[in-house]
């Protein structure tokens, strides 16, 4: 579909640990890091897209970055904020409207679980009064049914989190950098059965910026660019099972993640078997398990013969969430999707340090999923 190749020439990320810094401050830091990585000045950026869910408007960053007159579009699209900013930046380059474009995602959330209001979701106040406006219940009920249908064990859920914390130890910008083993994770206290406390990510903070270039602009600056072969965003179709649903239709639920992943693979002309490293939304352990199959990397149930044998570890046949994912980095909603792309870019450039996937990986995939049924996926190659 692309008339013009899109290359990632610069990638910048902040620490994802809790600090006093504002979300906007983090965003400026990430943009400057991405520009330095690309070797380009801010004045060279011809189009910018970005946003946060809860930390302010991206277009105000020009006050710190420089008032160059660049067209800067705010994006606020829940968990797909980063992905939507990226798609917009890709389109700016493919259309020829810009030869250098910025995508930035950032956020900073209060501590503790998210705090949704029934009216914002079109629901009767009773759902709040009776204690059902709790996102973690949904994740628990989805994986509960999945385990029943596909024979996934609680220990496999714990092993997903064990891997996340282990990869967090190897990732300098991660929030959770202390190893935890499966037994500790299983014994950390049930939150919503079958999910325990350490199987969940927490709302957090962080910022990521990417500098995208046309082939000609990338040639001018040199460096080690990575090709963004596909970037897509999809919303749910009828039949999906989503958070805060008073009812769901019968039958096997449809998956927006499956739709977005298929679309991204088609656009890239590649398939799941061609991918060397991937980042999958891991709001909690169960999500990573289900998304492996929903995105096409294995059959439903096959996870039980992959995860316990290390297949998704950094040295495994399909490394998943090599930077520790949301479980180790937290969930700053606006930043997570671009964090995944940043991680794949580092892996494909061979710059991932202690967490580098061996064997010179040349293809990567990223996947975000969020409420109320949105998914953003990318395919990248070296």
């Amino acid at each position: 579909m692309s008339s013009e190749d899109v290359l990632v020439c610069g990638a910048g990320i902040t620490a994802f640990a809790r600090t006093e810094a504002s979300g906007r401050h983090l965003a400026v830091q990430a943009v400057r890091a991405a520009l330095a990585d690309a070797g380009l000045p801010w004045t060279r950026v011809r189009a910018a897209y970005g946003g946060s869910d809860a930390a302010g408007n991206a277009d105000t960053l020009v006050a710190e970055l420089g008032l160059t007159g660049v067209p800067f579009t705010n994006v606020r699209n829940g968990c797909a904020t980063g992905g939507s900013a990226l798609v917009s930046a890709v389109n700016a380059i493919r259309s020829g409207a810009a030869d250098v474009a910025l995508a930035v995602g950032f956020d900073k959330h209060p501590r503790g679980a998210f705090d949704p209001r029934p009216a914002d979701w079109g629901l009767d106040e009773a759902y709040g009064r009776d204690g059902l406006m709790v996102t973690t219940q949904f994740f628990a009920m989805k994986i509960q049914r999945y385990m029943h249908d596909h024979g996934i064990s609680a220990r496999t859920l714990a092993l997903v989190a064990e891997k996340a914390y282990g990869n967090g130890v190897l990732t300098p910008h991660a929030w959770r950098r202390k190893p935890l083993d499966a037994d500790e994770i299983l014994a950390s206290g049930m939150v919503n059965d079958p999910l325990t406390r350490y199987m969940f990510c927490s709302p957090g903070q962080g910022a990521v910026a990417l500098i995208l270039c046309s082939r000609a602009a990338a040639r001018e600056i040199g460096g080690t660019p990575v090709t963004l072969r596909a970037a897509v965003v999809r919303t749910r179709r009828f039949g999906s099972f989503e958070v805060f649903s008073p009812w769901v239709p019968p039958g096997q639920p449809t998956s927006v993640s499956t739709d977005a992943a298929q679309c991204a693979f088609e656009e890239a002309g590649l398939g799941p078997r061609d991918i060397d490293v991937c980042q999958l939304q891991d709001t909690e352990s169960g999500a990573e398990v289900m998304h492996m199959a929903e995105c096409g990397f294995c059959e439903h149930g096959e996870q039980e013969s992959l995860i316990p044998f290390g297949a998704t570890g950094i040295g495994g046949s399909l490394p998943v969430n090599t930077d520790g994912g949301c479980i180790a980095n937290g969930e700053p909603i606006g930043a997570s999707g671009l964090r995944q792309v940043h991680e794949v870019v580092q892996q494909l450039r061979g710059r991932a340090g202690e967490r580098q996937v061996p064997g010179d990986p040349s293809t990567g995939f990223t996947h975000v999923y969020g409420a109320p049924g949105v998914s953003a996926c990318t395919v990248l190659t070296r």
């Binding site: 705090d115 009773a126 759902y127 204690g131 059902l132 049914r145 206290g189 919503n192 009812w247 239709p249």
Partner: protein
Amino acid sequence: MEGPLSAVPGTGSGLHGSRCADCAVATYPAGPACPRCGRPAEPIVLSDTGTLWTWTVQRYAPKSPPYLPPAAGFVPFTVGYVELPEGVRVLVTLDILPEDVEIGMPVTITAGDGVPRAGGVAV
């Protein structure tokens, strides 16, 4: 007070649902249009007995507000989706202890003044 979640008068415990005349998609609570095809939906009374499709336990007290804990204080409670013969899975709070709840078990739904509740079927 009658609201969108309360029982249909004269039906005992029946829930107000709706069904699309064209594609037979049933929903709860009742809505004016089919979420699948967008055509008008007709009100129906849903069955009060079904099977448990999935469940979890709310082990910690949700944030108040909006949550209104019982007068005696918060205790963990079970929630789940009940699959009804009309082809709709309804979100309910369960009057079943965590150690007794099981996917596939038969349950009976009752509409009250809040979210529908469901309990085990007496054997």
